[in-house]
Symmetry: C2
Subunit: 334 residues, 2 copies
């Protein structure tokens, strides 16, 4: 038996209400381009349209969820203590950016061994860093202390309904931009880590289908070394990773109780792919589209190539999740 | 005393004729986007608008000149023996792409020690490779042999008038796209190697100014290790590089007798920049715009930063020339 979806989503089951919300978020976001490459189509065996969230403000789709979450907070008056999170990656950067734009403080709890470029990115965006020992328990405790001391509100990267709803706007724009060029997508594919982007995409695509009478399906690509989402969808309950191992640093997390019911009711398939397949797909995206994408972007394309029985000849939209790499570590330049 | 410009350019001194020609070329080209980054503006001390020719077909602006050159050939009937060149870089790739699209053969003379990824790129585009010993004399001789044996027409990368005219379409589109958003550029900047892009840009911007009553100026960035163009503009005659040393592999070439007179009459400044300044600028373009650009793209931005007396607070359009890197050599991926 499936759990009901969070009541926050109820008014947005009306597709017009969802479309209106996405219009309201737009001024705070970049309308990222949708790119296409004939040689990638040939390689992938499908017609591929890439939504470039690596060009999004703060360098990742995370800005979308954060923007909607802060909008909900603002309805009751933005918290003087600001916001906090213990995500040290793209979500932390996005939250710091969006908070600075609104003039409220943002605290990001980061493990003491976090890479310097991630610390720099949070500070450049205007965030305050609180360091903790590098365990999940220490992170959660540190966030609780920040909340108690400052009155900050925690914004979770993937398991809060407003965050999830916001992430769905990438797929919505992708569908709009393709439709405006006469392209009716068969599939929308995203990576799945914590599940926020996948649930938001599933929710948004379901509304799109209702509004337009289409039957676009949603799939995810997931590394085999952190395949909790694929196993969860198969078993019908949230499964865990004992020791996740993958080159996709943003995908070692697990689904949550808010996003999982949405995923169950809206996602057609989660395909697992090997790290080697992910790295090949990432290289091809970079080489053919000439854009910088994180490893985390590549699982959906790897899944398309791996599963011609599902995707051959289909029109597939893929959300490229982000482009925040530590370029200083790499002499790829010449 | 300056030499007269090539008679090919005469009808295009009429700005309307030039604009019409660029409209005619458009179906064979990508309309590449113009990107902007607030943090790059802060770093550069100017308002910067980047024309992304790394997204152009074949991965570089070279497609523009080749497209116009093949259009001129087609007027008399395309040569059965096809076309040839001894440029093993972006021009060779572009010529191979464009020839394949028209169904004529393309031969690219390459030194035997050319990198494998460049050979692969030419072959993937449908070009035939003729290897020669790695000297300029051997290249020229090999091209002459191809021409004699096949009747192919040589298309030079930077010193033929139709090629030069085609390259100017990038700046024209940049000016159009900025104007449509209410942005009146003060400068357009490009890199200078062989001089085709710089001459084409100078010619096009002069026509734009006549058509719109504006006074946009053109500058180039050039590596100090291959500064023949800066010295040529200063001395009034074509100067040479004895032993060019720069990380910009596409800029070790020299100006030619067709492009130099155009450069003399249309270019306001050529600024030289150190390799270290070029690499810093390249890293920042990649990091902030999330795009893959060659080292060759970076000299104009490096020049803007180096010369605040010329550019501080100005509106500067920069043509990013290409994005063809050997990504296989670099583990920048994760």
């Amino acid at each position: 038996m499936k759990a009901p979806i969070d009541p926050y989503f109820s008014p947005f089951l009306n597709p017009t209400a969802l479309a209106e919300r996405y219009v309201q978020l737009a001024p705070s976001l970049h309308r990222t381009p949708v790119l296409h490459s004939a040689s990638l189509d040939t390689w992938g065996g499908a017609e591929l349209h890439f939504k470039c969230e690596n060009f999004q403000k703060s360098g990742a789709f995370k800005m979308r969820g954060v923007t909607n979450a802060l909008r909900e907070l603002a309805v009751q008056g933005l918290p003087e203590g600001g916001v906090c999170t213990h995500s040290s990656g793209n979500h932390g950067q996005a939250l710091a950016w969006a908070s600075a734009a609104l003039g409220i403080p943002c605290t990001v709890v980061m493990p003491s061994n976090a890479p310097q470029f991630k610390k720099d990115a949070v500070r450049t965006a205007g965030g305050r860093i609180v360091e903790c020992t590098p365990t999940l328990a220490a992170r959660i405790e540190a966030v609780a202390e920040v909340v108690a001391a400052t009155g900050a509100v925690e914004i979770h990267p993937s398991n809060q309904a407003p965050v999830i709803l916001g992430q769905g706007s990438a797929a919505w724009e992708l569908l709009e931009d393709c439709a405006s060029r006469g392209i009716a997508l068969d599939w929308v594919g995203v990576p799945v880590g914590g599940g926020g982007l996948l649930a938001g995409t599933g929710f948004a695509v379901a509304r799109w289908n209702e509004l337009h009478g289409t039957s676009v399906r949603v799939f995810a690509g997931e590394p085999t070394g952190a395949d909790d989402a694929a196993r969860s969808l198969a078993s019908g309950k949230i499964e865990h990773n004992s020791n996740p191992q993958t080159v996709c640093d943003g995908m070692r997390t697990e689904l949550g109780d808010v996003n999982f019911p949405v995923i169950q009711s809206t996602v057609a398939a989660i395909h697992t792919v090997e790290d080697s397949e992910i790295l090949t797909a990432q290289r091809l995206i970079a080489d053919r589209l000439k854009i910088i994408v994180e490893t985390n972007c590549a699982p959906p394309l790897a899944a398309v190539v791996k599963h011609p029985e599902a995707f051959a000849g289909q029109r597939v939209g893929i959300v490229l999740s982000g482009g925040n790499l530590d370029l200083s570590a790499h002499e790829w330049a010449h």
